[in-house]
């Protein structure tokens, strides 16, 4: 009898995924071979992520990038093995494990890109929002919008919400980097960001500011 057929976590899994699980749950040489194959798979995914991000990391040499990919694959292997029993076959096993390697590589590369850089928690510039070449009437309308936004950020948000919103949404600090600097998690920071955004939207709505005409401009 196929041993993997007894495993409830594989009920929905395809044959290839069941074979992966069977190998990883085996003992001895079969287990070692499956681990080796899994690491190779994770390393391929980590290198894929490194290659995608390479243009944004011109200061890193090839061997440094490959070291990051290897570390990402090693860490992803640990995560996959720790969560193996969580796999329910909702996707192919290979797709499920790829996301661990891509996450590890992306987080490491974002952190490396910001290594030694100060994380700006106050608005560095509002120029991202400032249009040029507008008709005087449109420019005035835009100034009113930006003024209302800046006042709302100062008046409505808590200091922590303001720092998180400004760092991520205005200054472009990656959420993992900010989480690392503030000793928190990505999930917790995103919750703060989400709450801040909701608060801003509510406030702007209550003050009668029509955001729709700005946010839907492209679709007109």
């Amino acid at each position: 009898m196929d041993a993997s057929a007894q495993l409830p976590a594989t009920a929905a899994a395809d044959q290839d995924s069941r074979e992966w699980l069977q190998g990883l749950r085996a003992t001895g040489a079969e287990h070692e071979a499956a681990i080796e194959r899994l690491h190779a798979l994770l390393l391929r995914a980590a290198r894929f992520e490194v290659a995608r991000r390479r243009p944004t990391l011109p200061h890193l040499r090839g061997n440094e990038l490959d070291e990051i990919a290897l570390e990402a694959a090693d860490d992803a292997l640990m995560s996959v093995l720790a969560k193996l029993e969580d796999f329910r076959g909702a996707s192919r096993f290979t797709t499920w494990v790829y996301k661990f390697a891509l996450l590890e590589a992306a987080v490491k590369l974002r952190k490396r890109a910001w290594q030694g850089r100060e994380v700006p928690l106050e608005p560095e510039t509002w120029s991202l929002f400032a249009s040029s070449g507008l008709a005087p009437e449109a420019e005035l309308e835009q100034q009113e919008l930006l003024g209302a936004l800046q006042r709302a950020i100062v008046d409505v948000l808590t200091p922590h919400q303001r720092r998180v919103l400004v760092a991520i949404a205005i200054n472009g600090v990656p959420i993992d980097v900010l989480a690392d600097r503030l000793s928190t998690t990505r999930g917790a920071l995103y919750k703060t960001l989400h709450d801040a955004r909701q608060k801003l939207r509510r406030h702007l709505h209550e003050t009668g500011l029509q955001l729709g005409s700005w946010l839907e401009e492209e679709n007109r």
Partner: protein
């Protein structure tokens, strides 16, 4: 600056409208979401709130794009 760029900047600031999942739930569901997308199925109906999260979270969006590119590239071979 053209108004579409202003729209993008405002979108980053104010985030998506409507319910969305958090980063942890997004990671949990990302593999299934990507496979549904690549199969041409209605991933948004199957996993509501994930598309909105990807619109609001640059890091999760990058990881989604990478997973989709990696798996999609394999399927194309």
């Amino acid at each position: 600056m053209k108004r579409p760029e202003l729209k993008q900047a405002l979108g980053r600031l104010l985030g998506p409208v409507g319910p969305e999942v958090g980063c942890d739930e997004c990671f949990e569901q990302l593999d299934r979401y990507v496979e549904l997308e690549l199969a041409g199925k209605d991933a948004d109906a199957a996993l509501p709130g994930l598309r909105a999260h990807l619109a609001g979270c640059p890091a999760c969006r990058e990881e989604h794009d990478s997973l989709r590119a990696l798996v999609g590239g394999e399927q194309a071979l």
